[in-house]
């Protein structure tokens, strides 16, 4: 972690000094070590503020689309973040040639709120970046457990029990849209929920309108969610949204045979089809 911290600063400084990039998206000092912040360094002097520690959970891919096409950007990515970058390239939202990707093998990241280690049993099944130009540190060992194991309990429930679980969780949503703001894939402008015509969902929180928002959001992330878990960590009500996203990702992988954001050559599953897709998937 210490080594990555130093190398990240070093590489950021070098890239900015050489004029290879205009901005470095990384992590900056917060008010204490537990709360680093997303940070955009624009001058070599700015890089002094860059840090990396186990609480740097933010997915910096979220900020890539804030820059106009053609801006040269260096971005620090952990495993899942790199998959988010891949999905954005697949969707032609950003261009590979505009990016210098600083890969961080990230094992042992911690949730700043609970101090729990983030691993395959929660979110972030991919500790090593799948796409990078420079790897800052040795590759982390990948976990043996499937990232879908955590779904076991919910999958074992019957419909009634699952409804009891989700209706309780969803009724707590205050519609602050922090999940949407934290998500690298939620870039629609305007978001369907902000549209007045047609009005897809009521604006004020209620179980029904919350479900309308979240179910649609789960669908919109089908085959795109890269399991970074930032939505759940951003949620002030601590709703485990990642469980639902994970389930949809699992179904997509099983039905269509492809996980999100693993290769820039792939086509996202929801804008693709195979004639052999079985009709059974509809039953």
């Amino acid at each position: 972690m210490k080594q990555i911290d130093a190398r990240l600063r070093e590489e950021a400084k070098r890239l900015l000094e050489a004029g290879e990039v205009e901005v470095v998206l990384a992590y900056g000092k917060g008010y204490d070590d537990r709360h680093p912040m997303p940070y955009a360094a624009k001058t070599p002097a700015d890089t002094e503020r860059i840090v990396f520690n186990e609480y740097c959970t933010h997915n910096m891919a979220r900020y890539l689309m804030d820059y106009s096409p053609g801006t040269r950007i260096a971005i620090a990515v952990k495993g899942c973040d790199s998959r988010a970058v891949v999905v954005l390239i697949q969707e032609e939202k950003i261009r590979r040639e505009d990016l210098v990707i600083l890969g961080i093998p990230a094992a042992g990241m911690k949730d700043p709120r609970t101090d729990r280690v983030i691993d395959a049993s929660t979110t972030s099944a991919t500790p090593n970046p799948v796409l990078y130009d420079i790897l800052l540190g040795g590759e982390a060992t990948t976990s043996e457990t499937s990232s879908y194991d955590v779904l076991g309990e919910l999958e074992g429930m019957n419909g009634e029990e699952r409804w009891a679980f989700w209706s309780e969780e969803m009724s707590r949503c205050i519609r602050c849209y922090a999940c949407r703001k934290a998500c690298p894939m939620c870039y629609c402008d305007p978001c369907f929920v902000d549209q007045a015509e047609p009005r897809w969902a009521d604006k004020s929180p209620s179980l029904e309108s919350n479900l309308m928002f979240h179910l649609t959001r789960f669908y919109h992330l089908a085959g795109r969610c890269i399991d970074c878990g930032e939505c759940s960590r951003a949620c002030p009500m601590e709703i485990p949204l990642y469980l639902f996203h994970k389930k949809v990702a699992k179904e997509c992988e099983e039905m269509f045979g492809q996980a999100a954001g693993m290769s820039v050559e792939d086509k996202p599953v929801m804008v693709d089809f195979r004639v052999e897709d079985a009709d059974e998937i509809l039953l």
Binding site: G159, R162, W163, T216
Partner: protein
């Protein structure tokens, strides 16, 4: 009062809607519980249509499209198949009674089959009773 299911049908213009037309012109009787909305292709269907229909009080949603391989636009229903499959999985995982949502491929010549499916689906929904989970509770006695 006896429960009369309210069912939203979403039918593609080229196959299922024409099939429904055939059922009508051949004077086949089927339940009036279904209200059919016509779309140009089953891939036009945004899954939010289905969530929204349930929110506005539909007891069931029946989606009809061309048989795979017979799409008027060649490939539309292949995309629809993936979208609707994911929609079904989402309803299932949320515990929202996925049996209230059904997809059928009905061609323009299958008027009788269309009527049979509507009959069968209406009876299934009748047996399930009113859909209350997603429906917005409004008004007197809500």
């Amino acid at each position: 009062m006896e429960f009369e299911p309210k069912i939203l049908g979403i039918a593609c213009n080229w196959c299922t809607y024409t099939g429904a037309d055939l059922a009508g012109t051949t004077r086949i009787q089927y339940p009036h519980n279904i209200r059919v909305a016509r779309v140009m292709c089953s891939s036009r269907i945004n899954p939010s249509f289905i969530f929204r229909a349930f929110e506005l009080g539909a007891d069931g949603v029946l989606v009809g499209g061309c048989h795979p391989g017979d799409c008027h636009y060649s490939t539309g229903n292949y995309y629809a198949r993936r979208k609707l499959a994911v929609t079904k999985k989402i309803l299932e995982f949320a515990g929202l009674e996925p049996e209230r949502f059904r997809v059928e491929w009905i061609s323009a010549s299958e008027g009788i089959r269309y009527a049979d499916i509507v009959k069968e689906f209406t009876e299934e929904i009748r047996a399930l009773g009113p859909q209350t989970r997603l429906a917005v509770k409004r008004g007197v006695g809500a």
